[in-house]
Amino acid sequence: MFGFELTEFLLFGKQLGIALAGAAALWGFIFSLKDFHCGKDKQCIIYDWIAVRILPLFLIGVGIGSVSYAGLLSTVEAVAHEGIAYVPTTPEIVASFPILTPLFFALVALALVAISLPNKGGDKYANWITYFYAIAFLVCFAITSFPAWRGVLDGHQLFYAGHGFHSIFTVGSVIVLDYLFVLSKRAKILKEHVFALFPTISAVVWFGLAFDFLSALFIIEGFEPTTKMLFMQTVIGILIINGTLLSGPLARKMMNSVKPGGEGLKGGWKLVANIAGTVSITSWMTITFIDSFESLPFSYAEFFAGYLLVLAVIFAGHSFFEWMEERTAPPEFAHK
């Protein structure tokens, strides 16, 4: 319907789910590493708390990715469309299953262990989760690097890998960043610790996009001037300019606002930060989504109208969750 095929939806679900799980594992690992074995110091407890709070995001990603993959296993053989120059063909996707299935089993098993362990607020769990996130990240990285298998490690295969794993560092990391931003609304002390990592997360997102651009060098002859391509290039322009504002002047303002003596974000800045955050998450999700579908029959204006509609919905949802978090009791360590 409207050019959307079930298999393409499932491929999108697999890509987005594992990108989210991989990014949650990456940033969970980094936050938990910051406190590694440093005992009961307050700083350590805060980083522990943030690392464990990222776990639900990891589990959501594993859930979406695994269900989509299970769906792919049972449907993909029924579909047989010819791929354009740089889109994986159905036989190439099917050829990746023997590599992906054991990796998905490992990922689901890891997730089940993480859920079943008791006392998630304890020191032991906080130390264990560092190793857990490291392994989970490696598994997610491997899964996203094999969206298809050509049977030979050539330029095309390297493009598939780069075009796949960059999602962990881009769309996945942007979702984690936004989640942490909303979570930090509970207490100033959380903002201090979360905002401090904004420049690092932003740099990783920029490098992720660079990986994607570099991987496209392997298929330089594969570009086609379609409406979809023009729309995606527009969204890439938007996300670069918006991301520069968000990770530059806005992030600096946010970090200064939570320093000792800082006045907090004023109304106008708050609104601009919220809009920029929404544009960022919407743009990354849009290009990941559109990229998953080969034959969309929409005009440029229709693509753009859909983008603006999604932007408005995400802005409303984002504002609602922020409002909820601001009313949630801060964690115990945050009480002065």
């Binding site: 740099a203 920029w206 490098f207 996009l209 660079a210 651009f213 570099l214 496209a216 570009f223 001037p225 391509m229 023009l230 290039q233 527009t234 890439i236 322009g237 938007i238 996300l239 670069i240 300019i241 991301g243 520069t244 504002l245 530059g248 002047p249 806005l250 600096r252 303002k253 106008g268 800045w269 601009v272």
Partner: protein, 55 residues
């Protein structure tokens, strides 16, 4: 609010790259080739090299 326009060199390069993506869309839509796309990506990668050397 004017602080929002205080950009570092890296950020200025990225904004130039983003604007070139828009120019590329107009160029291709009016029958041009992919030259501006390569320039936009090249400038972006230059920005990333600057970011990497400063890190």
């Amino acid at each position: 609010m004017t602080e929002i326009l205080n950009f570092t060199l890296f950020e200025k390069i990225l904004i130039a790259s983003g604007l070139l993506f828009f120019a590329n869309v107009i160029w291709i839509a009016s029958g041009g080739g992919f030259e501006l796309l390569y320039v936009a990506k090249g400038i972006y990668l230059l920005g990333i090299i600057i970011l990497a050397t400063k890190a």
